[in-house]
Every structure is written in structure tokens, then in C-alpha cells.
């Protein structure tokens, strides 16, 4: 396999708040290969967005990247000067955001905002950049691109705005495009179109796409590899097909199980994962997922598991893994998925 263009090693990002330190990203490591599409999945508060922001050093205060390395072409982005970092942003690594309505400046014309990305980095003239912006708008399939370029963001529909943002991201043909929940704020039908667009662009341009989302369906449609995050840590990662077919971490398993299926029987209840996301100020001891895990064992309460290869190319951090849960705890036929329901282990019975 080709060498990775991005290597994230033990990334740590913290938020220093009034009540304490929140470790939003607590030791995240992964590689990104040229041209691939990687999904980062997790619920709100899992640290997926902060991870992405950390890569470009855009974490808002009171947050700071406090440790680790982000190697891009052998340069550690975290050690670069502000000016050098600025050059990388938008040119080599671009990022687009969730809500195109608020992410575009309302008082500047759309075409100009795209051209700006080029003006800031290349030596193109203003006229050239504006022309290229129109081309980009056509590339992202916006009809009547010339007049759209002269419009202000509020004159465009949600889908068009997001396409314009994608155009902005691709303006300088970056090697990596990070998309932070690009479809969440859009209508369902438009979502599908945007995802299709991103998939095509990924193929055509060869830019690696990092797709951040809480929606497993998006990952299934677009990505080749996926990283599952929970409470600031990676709990599972690997090829999409493999993970969808045979998830090893209980969290991943629960996520997949909770997607309602068209072909499910009517009397089957909708399942959701019990409990709420953990408080990152005082994360649970041991495995962070154990308070909500149906398959936990004693070890999960006290020792934190680390990422291990549980199948070829698939890493998970779990003491139990789903293979064992299926074999010993009857996971496949489980009806009650409350914490500890399958393994029968509860806090009160611990001998500590």
C-alpha cells in the first residue's frame, strides 16, 4: 500500500473550563492514505469534530492541542509556525463545515468567497480567480453558475450553499478534504445528492476525503474505511464493509443495531443505546463505554482497553469483543440491551 499522506499519532486536545479540564481528544492515532475516503463516526461529544479541527489547528479557545503529532508529508503540523500553517490551510488541506448558512459570510458574494481561497494562496489575479470560481461551481453541479457566483449566500438554497462550500474547499485542489457533517443541516433528498457529489469528486480529483458524521448510513455510502470514536477515543477502526458486517466493539455493534431497518419485523422495538454520553470532565474509570455496555465484565470497570488488532486490518479496544459476546452471551438474540444485561455484571456486585 502507498504510504499515508497523513499520520496522526496520539493526538490530544483539551478544553480548560471553569469546572476543570475536558479531554475532548484523548490519544487518537490513525493514518490517512492518498485518495481514500475515511469516515469518522461518533455521537455528539465523542470528539470527532474536535479531532478534525485539531488537524488544522482551528480549535477554538478555551481548547488547545496539547500533545501528539500530525504528520503531513513528514512535517508535523502541530509544530509549524502560524504563517506556514496558514499556507497549508485551504491549499493542501481544506475543511468544509456543517451549516452552510452560517459558514458563509452573508455580506460577500458567493463567487468571491470561493475566489478568495485561491487569491490567498496562488498567484492568480482576481479576474482569473473569479473565472475559476465559476468553473468550480459548474464542477459541483450548480446550474447557472455565472449568475450564482454573483449572488449572495442568502439567495441560494441550502443544497447550493453546501455545494458552493465544497467548491470553496476544492478550489486549490487540496490533497485532503475534511468534511465536518456536511449533510446534517440539509434535507434528506439533498443529502443524498451532496454525498453523491462528494463520492464523484473523490474519484475524479483523487483528493482524500475525511467524512465526519454521526450517521452510519453516510459512512456506508461513501467511505472505504471508518473510525468509530467514543468519549474522545477511538474504539474501533477498519474497512467499512468488514466493520459493518462484523463489528467487534459493543458500541459499534449498538450503533449498527439501532439503525431502523426497512425489513425488520413490525413488532421489533426500536433500539437505542441506554444511557447518555459520558461526562468528559470525569470520564468513567476503566473502559469508557462500560456504564452503557451490555457485555461488560469485571475487567471493564477497572482497566482501560487499548486498540488491538482483533481481525485482519480491524482494530478495536475492548476486553470482550463481539465475537466472544456472540459466542458466550447470546448477543445475536439479545432482547434486553441495558447495561450489563447480557453479561450480568453490575457495579454493586463487584469485589474490589
Amino acid at each position: 500500500m502507498a504510504s499515508p499522506i497523513l499520520q496522526v499519532k496520539d493526538l490530544r486536545t483539551e478544553f480548560t473550563t471553569h469546572d476543570g479540564v475536558v479531554r475532548a481528544v484523548d490519544g487518537v492515532s490513525f493514518d490517512l492514505y492518498p485518495g481514500e475516503s475515511l469516515g469518522i463516526v461518533g455521537e455528539s461529544g465523542s470528539g470527532k469534530s474536535v479531532t478534525a479541527l485539531s488537524l488544522l489547528r482551528l480549535v477554538p479557545s478555551p481548547g488547545r492541542v496539547v500533545g501528539g503529532q500530525v504528520l503531513f508529508h513528514n512535517d508535523d503540523l502541530l509544530q509549524l509556525s502560524d504563517e506556514d500553517m496558514r499556507e497549508i490551510r485551504g491549499r493542501d488541506i481544506a475543511m468544509i463545515f456543517q451549516d452552510p448558512q452560517s459558514s458563509l459570510n452573508p455580506v460577500l458574494r458567493t463567487g468571491f468567497q470561493i475566489a478568495e481561497a485561491m487569491l490567498a494562496h496562488q498567484r492568480a489575479t482576481r479576474a482569473q480567480s473569479l473565472r475559476r470560481a465559476v468553473e468550480l461551481l459548474k464542477r459541483v453541479r450548480i446550474p447557472a453558475a455565472e449568475s450564482r457566483a454573483r449572488d449572495y449566500p442568502h439567495q441560494l438554497s441550502g443544497g447550493m450553499r453546501q455545494r458552493a462550500m465544497i467548491a470553496m474547499g476544492l478550489a486549490n485542489a487540496p490533497a485532503i478534504l475534511i468534511a465536518d457533517e456536511p449533510t446534517t443541516a440539509l434535507d434528506v433528498t439533498v443529502q443524498a445528492q451532496i454525498l453523491e457529489l462528494l463520492a464523484d469528486l473523490n474519484q475524479e480529483l483523487g483528493a482524500a476525503v475525511v467524512m465526519i458524521t454521526h450517521n452510519m448510513g453516510v459512512v456506508a455510502g461513501l467511505c472505504t474505511r471508518v473510525i468509530v470514536m467514543y468519549a474522545g477515543k477511538i474504539v474501533e477502526q477498519g474497512p467499512v464493509e468488514q466493520i459493518f458486517e462484523n463489528p467487534q466493539h459493543p458500541y459499534t455493534w449498538s450503533l449498527l443495531k439501532s439503525i431502523p431497518r426497512v425489513d425488520s419485523l413490525r413488532h421489533e422495538r426500536l433500539r437505542s443505546i441506554e444511557g447518555i454520553a459520558p461526562d468528559l470532565l470525569r470520564p468513567p474509570r476503566g473502559c469508557r463505554f462500560h456504564p452503557r455496555c451490555p457485555f461488560r465484565v469485571e475487567k471493564c470497570f477497572s482497566e482501560e482497553p487499548s486498540l488491538k488488532e482483533v481481525k485482519p486490518d480491524q482494530l478495536a479496544s475492548c476486553w470482550v469483543t463481539m465475537d466472544r459476546a456472540r459466542a458466550e452471551m447470546g448477543a445475536d438474540t439479545l432482547l434486553d440491551i441495558r447495561p450489563g444485561a447480557a453479561s450480568g455484571v453490575h457495579p454493586g456486585e463487584l469485589v474490589d
Binding site: 471553569h18 441495558r338 447495561p339 450489563g340 444485561a341 450480568g344 453490575h346 457495579p347 454493586g348 456486585e349
Partner: protein, 296 residues
Amino acid sequence: MATPATIVASQPIAPEQASLWSDAWRKLRRNRLALAGAIYLTFVVAVALTALVYTPYPMAKVGVGIPYTGPSPEHLLGVDTIGRDVLSRLMVGAQVSLLVGVGTQLVVLAIGVPIGLGAGYFRGWFDQVMTFVINLFYGVPNLLVALILVFLLGPSLTNIIVAIASTGWMDMARLVRGQTLSLRERDFIEASRASGARPAKILFGHVLPNALGPIIVQATFGVPAAILFEAFMSFLGLGVPPPMPSWGSMAADGIVAIRIAAYMVVAPALALSLTLMAFNFVGDGLRDALDPRQRR
């Protein structure tokens, strides 16, 4: 497998519910500028009250000292152009300022709030007429209107209060109208209406309490505006009639002597500026404290 899980004791579930007012009070106490302002204002009120019973010299008595004398142990702030004690006049001037400031706002509240409520709630022709009248009042600079009113009615404290209030009620009415317009769509108002409550009850029992925050802030800012207004008018000679001293008229009198006796202007100007500043600090503090958008 059927064992019920033992739940580990954890912290209380929700933070204690604080009402808007206790929350606001907490935030206000932490605002040092507002606190300083409040302290200063208490001082001013104390001075004004003291002046009711005691001033070093009678404020109107001419010739208690040699005119144009600077500050001295007998006259802490000096003597003015016709021999009156500046300190005593300053003290009584505090009364005037406070009366005008607070008085006008009371009138503004009495006029502006009901009009605003009515216009915002009932809409229709009442709203149209009121908006038209409000815009009419905005057509001319308020200072001129007030000056003409005082000119017509004759200078007296009450007339001045009326004149200033009549140029200021529109802002309050507009504010209240806006608040009413947005509040009337809220569900709890619908619920009241549906349960048959009479408009007066809805307006005064539900809408008004919710709009109270911005109203209070507006009124608090209105006080220094009114004091400033009165100072303007006095400066132009149409303020409280002599011998009542107003800080504005004292400043106007003192300007002529600015080269030789600067203290005559400085004392009232300083008093005015500090008092206005104090009110503004308190107003700022109130506005920040009552702003529901800010957390903590």
C-alpha cells in the same frame, strides 16, 4: 440474568433551578462597575436628602462670600459669580437632577408601557394610529420640542418633567410594543387566551412580567438621558427657574468665568458626569445581568 442492576449513587441530576431574578442579582453583584455606580448613586441620594434639611449655606442667599473666590475652608467648593456658596447649590442641584431623572422616567413608564402593550397586543387601528403618532414625534429633534413646550408652559420643575417625558415616551412605547409583539405569539399566552382570560389580565399578568427586564433596563438608561436633557435645557436658559440651582445652569453660569474661576464650571460638570456615568454603569450591569443569552 434477571438480576436487577444496582445503581451506583451518582451526583444530583440537575443543577439547582435558579429564577431569572436571583440569577440576575448574582450576576449584578459580581459586576464591579455597576456596584461602584450604585454606591456612588446612593451617595448622591444621601446628599440630596441631606440638602432637604441642611446645607452649609442657604442655597439662594447672595453674598455669603466674596464672589469669584476659589475653594477655601469656609466654602469647600468656592463662591459663584454673585456670592453664593457653590457646594450648597451643588447639593440642592442633586435634588433637581434626581427628581427630573426619576420623575421623567415614571411618566414615561406610565405613558409608554400601556400604549406599547395596547399597540402590540391589539394591533389594528390602535396600533396604526399609535405608530403614526410615535413617528410624528420622531420628526423633530426632541430638544426643540421640549424647549418649545417649556417656553409655552413656563419654566417650572413639573413642566420640565412633562416636557422631557413627552419627548421620551416613544422609545419606551416602541420597546414595549416590540416585546409584546413577540411575546403574544408564545404558547403560554395562547394558553391564557384559550382559558378565557381577559386582555387586561393577560397583558398585566403575563406579558408585562416577561417584558419587565428590557423595560427596567430602558428606564434605567432613561434617567441619565433625562438628567442630561435637563442639563442641556438649563444650559440654554430654559431649565429650572432660578433660584433653584441645576447642575446645567450652574455650568452655564460658570462658563463666562472659565478663565479665572474654572471651579465654577468644573464642580457641576464633574457632578453631572459622575452621576451620569454611575447610572450608565448600573444600567449596563442590569442589562448584562438580565440577558438570558449569557450563561453563568
